[in-house]
Symmetry: none
Subunit: 428 residues, 2 copies
């Protein structure tokens, strides 16, 4: 079943509003087993809407449209559908009654503008709106079934769930399954390289990639005779992909990186302390965005000034004078100081130059030292990240969290794209 | 000038990713004076892309396309454009050299997949990518000029700004001007209420609102005989709007909230310390996302555990036992402790319940105490925020930063939507 998602609204074509409706509908339709072949977005402009509807009629099996059903003068969808079909608008009495009740429930009388929302193209099937005023409706348009929904996301979603999903599901035999593997530590091209030949070896497999810096997500999409077969094969292919990608895979679709790191700590019963300079609290913010993180995070020290490095973490002024704040020595002293202060199992520290200013020949912008201190040793690594200030900070935070993940899961810390020039200092 | 925005990516048609690129491009193009007539989004499917390009050729003046230019096997845009034009792909040597340098800067050799990104349709004009690897390109497609850009937002934006905006601007007669006022502290409906009647009083004015929680942005869009007249009138209307909205306006479009707070501190030569519990580093991350923030931010203490509140900030165990960590007393002690530790002019603290767990009858989820300590006094306010964990934390961070802004700019701290139940404690 081929579906087209049509969005109607000048606020969309002018770029004033992000079109989350098309995304939500596409996700729902894909999960039901439909193929969303296209999104189109056009302005609130009656001749343009009519032209679009006439052009689309019969090109797909189903059209799901949102927007332009409200009470204001720029809501033109119903009139446009009527024009495209060559029929009149008629007041749909049950909808009119529902609108009147909705106004009354708020202690107001229905306005003429409110009543307009009950005017549907002749022959349309009304789709009741359980959470708002404007009803949706369904019409046959050439060879397609076309659904028209309001643009307010919660109203659109409620009507889709109540009236559309149940109409479409019996007609869709789900034949696909998708698994997402999330990776960190390999560049996108290397991830692709490692999965070369997978699509040729497995019939019905599509492998997709999404770089969401600094993560790379691998999407394993399998089509088979039915949903169960597709799922079984997707599971087996995902296992093969995990072997090829190794411990750079940190989780599947719903697994946020910081949550995975937190689970790793929880599995060992370990606690964590943070010492941040260039990231200024970003690592703490990522860790504590996970509900329940107080189980393992004890404290963080944002030591932005040299004085704070000394007063909060006991980094000696001699060390700062001799090596500077952006140095392996300072990173090690920060991590060990944080571990001492918190009396935690692990502590991770970051000190570097996020830019755009502050770089030098020997320590260019993007240089970050990251150290992880545990009971047995302190590991320190020098990084050089590309990108702007935000990206340098985000990549640094990920490397720091990855060191924590690898320590807690007993994974090797190797020289990789993100982790280079590793030094290990055994604790005396 | 009619423009169509074409987005290419199966992650979009499957609803895995919200299409913010189409929105961003539409906003930029509208501001340049172009008319964005349609967005279309299709999957990474070569026959489909070729068909779409052939259908669109000549239907609009300009096509701006994003996606499908990366190094992986599902990146099919260049090959599709070549097929639609009936030309071959050719390696563009300057782009190949730029890609090689980019790999080398990261200490890696260019891979074959990397080199593929330099293959452009014969006759295409390369558009250099100043912040990433894959170049964009421009071709003539029937009667249209078509631009193809990578899908990574920052790369797409950088290429648009450097190579496209300047190409299009001279062809567009600008007759509009837009000013964005950014506000914090009033709900959207109250912002609208305060600007009621503006559109009726000023010909050619459209006032738009965008709630980007917790900020509300007001867009003053003026159309006049030419761009200069529109700008002059927009400036004057913006002044009037600022009067109506008062000190809830913190800046214009490019003014990030944390940057405005930083400028306020800099203007007074004041330093800042942070003491964060429920926000876990978020305030620090916002403050230090601004380049040069080391001029005023000295340190932050992320005191997630009670032990850390005592060891880092000197909050007494008696106080924690008597009032709990989520209390006015604790917030005051945290702020005063941070100011003492840092020897700073100001310190701000936050302690609360971000949820989803941890709430109680007297301290429900969303309860946050926020205190600001200065040489003369400590102000503390109890908030109750709606929304999920992320939203509670973000709103709390904004109130904390707003207290700093108001202190530095000598603005009144009043009871408002966001700042309630204010207590002032003079320093003894």
């Amino acid at each position: 079943m081929k579906v087209l998602v049509l969005s109607i609204g000048t606020e969309l074509t002018r770029g004033e509003l992000v079109n989350t409706n098309a995304t939500w509908l596409s996700e729902q339709l894909t999960e039901l087993g439909a193929e969303v072949v296209e999104h189109r977005t056009i302005a609130d402009d009656q001749p343009r809407i009519v032209e679009e509807l006439r052009e689309l009629a019969g090109r797909v099996d189903v059209i799901v449209s949102t927007g332009g059903l409200g009470p204001t003068t720029d809501d033109l969808t119903s009139a446009s559908v009527a024009e495209a079909l060559g029929v009149e608008l008629r007041t749909h009495l049950p909808s009119l009654e529902a609108i009147r009740r909705r106004y009354e429930a708020r202690g107001r009388a229905m306005t003429p503008a409110g009543a307009r929302m009950a005017e549907l193209p002749e022959g349309a099937i009304a789709l009741p709106n359980p959470v708002g005023t404007a009803p949706g409706f369904e019409v046959a348009l050439g060879g397609c079934v076309a659904f028209f929904l309001p643009g307010v996301p919660r109203e659109m979603q409620a009507i889709f769930r109540e009236s559309i999903a149940s109409r479409l599901a019996p007609k869709l035999a789900r034949t696909t399954h998708q698994i997402h593997l999330r990776t960190f530590g390999l560049p996108e091209s290397e991830v692709g390289e490692r999965l070369r030949g997978f699509e040729e070896r497995h019939a019905g497999l599509t492998v997709g990639y999404r770089a969401s810096t600094p993560e790379v997500e691998v999407k394993i999409h399998v089509r088979d005779v039915d949903g169960a077969s597709a799922e079984r094969r997707a599971r087996s292919i995902a296992e093969e992909a995990r072997t090829a990608l190794g411990d750079f895979v940190f989780g599947e679709r719903e697994d946020g990186f910081a949550a995975v790191v937190g689970e790793a700590l929880r599995s060992r019963g370990w606690s964590l302390a943070l010492a941040e300079s260039c990231t200024g609290g970003l690592v703490g913010q990522l860790v504590t965005a996970v509900a329940g993180s107080s189980d393992y995070l004890l404290l963080g020290a944002v030591t932005y000034s040299n004085g704070a490095k000394t007063s909060m973490l006991g980094v000696s002024q001699e060390l700062l004078r001799a090596y500077g704040a952006v140095s392996a020595e300072c990173a090690v002293a920060m991590a060990e100081g944080a571990r001492r202060l918190a009396d935690s199992d692990l502590a991770v520290s970051l000190t570097g130059i996020a830019g755009p200013g502050g770089g030098s020949e020997t320590k260019p912008v993007g240089t970050v030292w990251i150290a992880l201190s545990s009971a047995s040793e302190t590991v320190v690594t020098r990084q050089h990240f590309g990108g702007d200030r935000d990206l340098v900070r985000l990549q640094a935070a990920y490397v720091a969290l990855d060191l924590v993940r690898r320590a807690a899961l007993r994974l090797e810390v190797r020289e990789t794209w993100t982790t280079k020039e590793i030094q290990r200092l055994a604790r005396s």
